[in-house]
Symmetry: C2
Subunit: 143 residues, 2 copies
DNA sequence: TTACAATTCTGTAATCATTCCAAATTGTCA
DNA sequence: TGACAATTTGGAATGATTACAGAATTGTAA
């Protein structure tokens, strides 16, 4: 199975020109389900593509978001994260290590409250914040 | 009823020194339930307090958040919003006019999925995005 | 293949919310 | 009042993201 071809055609099917940069970024998102930031993607790809520009990563991610290939996560202030899994699910962000975890969230698929009658809902997000299991243990050891 | 005194004591009770700046900012948050940004607060208060510094607004809001007086909302990229209502409720952000609406969200009070067993949950947020009623109507008129 | 147009990419400069920091001010309490 | 601590101020720094204009690449048609 040639994954590069897979992503190449995935882009073509969405009407996006499958440039080398776009394929690589899409490939990275599929292979690294860590809800990466643009910077993280750039850091990991640039060693193998020395001319890759940060701007290209940003542009490509915006393009992917508009095409519905990724969903954008605004959990922490400052940096935006990107999730190749566009299905309805919740996100837990650890305040200590920064890792973002997925969890199932039926609430996101349910009915919309009547207070929002007449509203057009385009995105639904459920975010939790706190300490992940590992960091919680570490915190306890310290104090 | 003297509101200034109310907020003065509210701060004192939380162990925060009730400086003029802090009381005014707290007062503003109670009177203007618009989930304002730090900049909005500064813009509205500075005419009456010419020496008020943006930094003070930021510092005070951080202080309030740590004291549990406000909750911080990270809905849009870039700017953070502050909500004096710390009860569990959802937020709808209009992509067009930027207004943030409240809605009741029982999902935020329910059980935590077993995937997060062992996690310490400090915050829960439910965010919807799209077009509010008014902006939806306007969009339709245009085409 | 060649040539031209359109698209994409690149890298630097700008933007803008937020934070840093050191000096000035204000508050507290003996 | 005096002295120390807490708070405020404003200008400089930070850092993610965007703007922009030129360079490179790709697509198309002869």
């Amino acid at each position: 199975m040639n994954r590069t071809i897979d992503y190449y055609t995935e882009l073509a099917q969405r009407g996006l020109q499958p440039s080398v940069q776009r394929v690589r970024i899409l490939e990275f998102l599929h292979a690294n389900r860590i809800h990466p930031t643009a910077e993280q993607i750039w850091l990991r790809l640039s060693p193998g593509m020395p001319t890759l520009s940060r701007t290209t990563v940003y542009n490509t991610l915006k393009l992917f978001a508009e095409a519905g290939i990724v969903q954008t996560l605004v959990i922490e202030e400052k940096e935006m994260r990107f999730d190749i899994d566009t299905s309805h699910h919740g996100h837990f962000s650890c305040d200590r290590c920064g890792t973002v975890f997925d969890f199932t969230a039926s609430a996101l698929s349910g009915a919309v409250p009547s207070e929002l009658d007449g509203f057009e809902i385009r995105e639904r997000h459920l975010y939790y914040k706190g300490l992940c299991r590992e960091c919680r243990t570490k915190e306890r050891r310290k104090g």
